[in-house]
Symmetry: C2
């Protein structure tokens, strides 16, 4: 029946959300703490269920809170991984049998699963960048501390890599870049495009993302000495789990 009493003020659910957000920032609720639930808000403010839900939905969609069914709504916790752009792709890393990924996690244990290697018709953008009709595609998922954090999809021109270890699940020490070097197509230049957006439903489920979590999309192209593109790698990362770092001189 009643609307917000004064027309030009924010609606009730906004004011409640603002209060909770402020309380979180002020430290009244710490990372992982349980927030007042729907019932608590209904009682405290004398509002309907849907309105209390709406207030909590604001924080959830902002990524500040995470709902846990049957338990409550909790303040979100962050533990970003630092991923070095320019530094991590230096030749020392993949030249000496280390996988690139090692450099990202700063010692934290990681896991790779959902590995799939297939030969496919190249999508339009991949065909344009790599300059070929058909590609080998390597898909996999990375997890840190038992939590999935990244989906990666690499494309390679068939003419370059067919018959090499790049076309099998485990490419051996040093990863695919070491194999490209073995084939005489060592990458010497990289371009990375960085975007951010909300995840598609399948991405959200594969990464275990709750509402209010964007993904960072990094699209990396690796070029060999001749100037040709030898790999196109699209990475979809849980934005709450990553900090990307790029260093460069003038």
């Amino acid at each position: 029946m009643m609307q917000s009493p004064v027309p030009h003020e924010p609606p009730i659910y906004r004011r409640i959300a603002d209060r909770l957000r402020q309380a979180i920032k002020a430290g009244e609720f710490r990372d992982g703490d349980r927030l007042p639930g729907e019932n608590a808000l209904m009682a405290e403010y004398g509002i309907a269920r849907a309105t209390a839900r709406q207030a909590l939905a604001v924080l959830i969609n902002e990524g500040m809170a995470v709902p846990r069914r049957g338990s409550g709504v909790y303040v979100r916790q962050f533990r970003p991984i630092r991923r070095h752009g320019s530094r991590r792709l230096s030749r020392e890393q993949w030249g000496t049998g280390r996988a690139i990924w090692d450099g990202d996690t700063a010692g934290r244990p990681y896991a790779v699963d959902e590995i799939a290697v297939t030969r496919e018709q190249a999508a339009e953008d991949a065909a344009r960048v790599l300059g070929c009709e058909e590609v080998w595609v390597r898909r996999r998922r990375y997890s840190v501390d038992g939590r999935p954090v990244q989906l990666a999809t690499s494309h390679f021109p068939v003419e370059l890599v067919t018959g090499s270890p790049i076309t099998v699940p485990d490419p051996g020490p040093g990863g695919v870049y070491a194999r490209l070097r073995d084939l005489g197509h060592a990458p010497v230049h990289f371009t990375e495009e960085v975007r951010a957006r909300m995840p598609a439903p399948d991405e959200a489920s594969r990464l275990g993302l709750s509402a209010g979590t964007p993904v960072i999309v990094v699209c990396r192209t690796a070029y060999a000495a001749g100037g040709g593109a030898v790999e196109l790698n699209t990475m979809i990362m849980d934005a709450a789990s990553y900090v990307l770092q790029y260093d460069f001189d003038v």
Copy 2:
């Protein structure tokens, strides 16, 4: 009264959202097209108002659709700006009287407003990076095609820049980097940290962001030849309006 008929299927609102999403991807709705509204969904699926709203809220929170009050829900349009990381900060740009920003917009007109220059106590992180207690802070907002796309906040150590044009709204040709060079503290190295998250309410309103739009946060530190940090610049960008590009060699 009725719930979703089969327990393990997705709820009604999800299925409707999925259908709409698929229709958008299939091209049945193009950028800027109007989607079926709440009333249309209620009639088509025989559902309550709140359920139709919930279905549309999914797409809105995914950033695929934008609600327009009194009008309808529309498919979102993207027009990203390409921002070059390593290339754009080359000395030619800011050494010759051009503002850095020119390189970003690829010829599209841009505007700067909400400029404020103040002297402040440094926040903890700024103090640590810049190694000083007090800082000059330059805040401003950038717009392209009449739409705000970026909020920027630069910090400078007081000892370095007090009395220079950096402490007034218009620092002159070449921008603050040209003035730092004039002062003998030309930046020679940059570090950029890139994150993504959902915007805080004030950021959303200053950037005019609708729900479902994340922001990209770039935190750039500029270092002079001696190795000291001379600027700390935090940029908050509408993620739907930007593609960041970084180039680097092995």
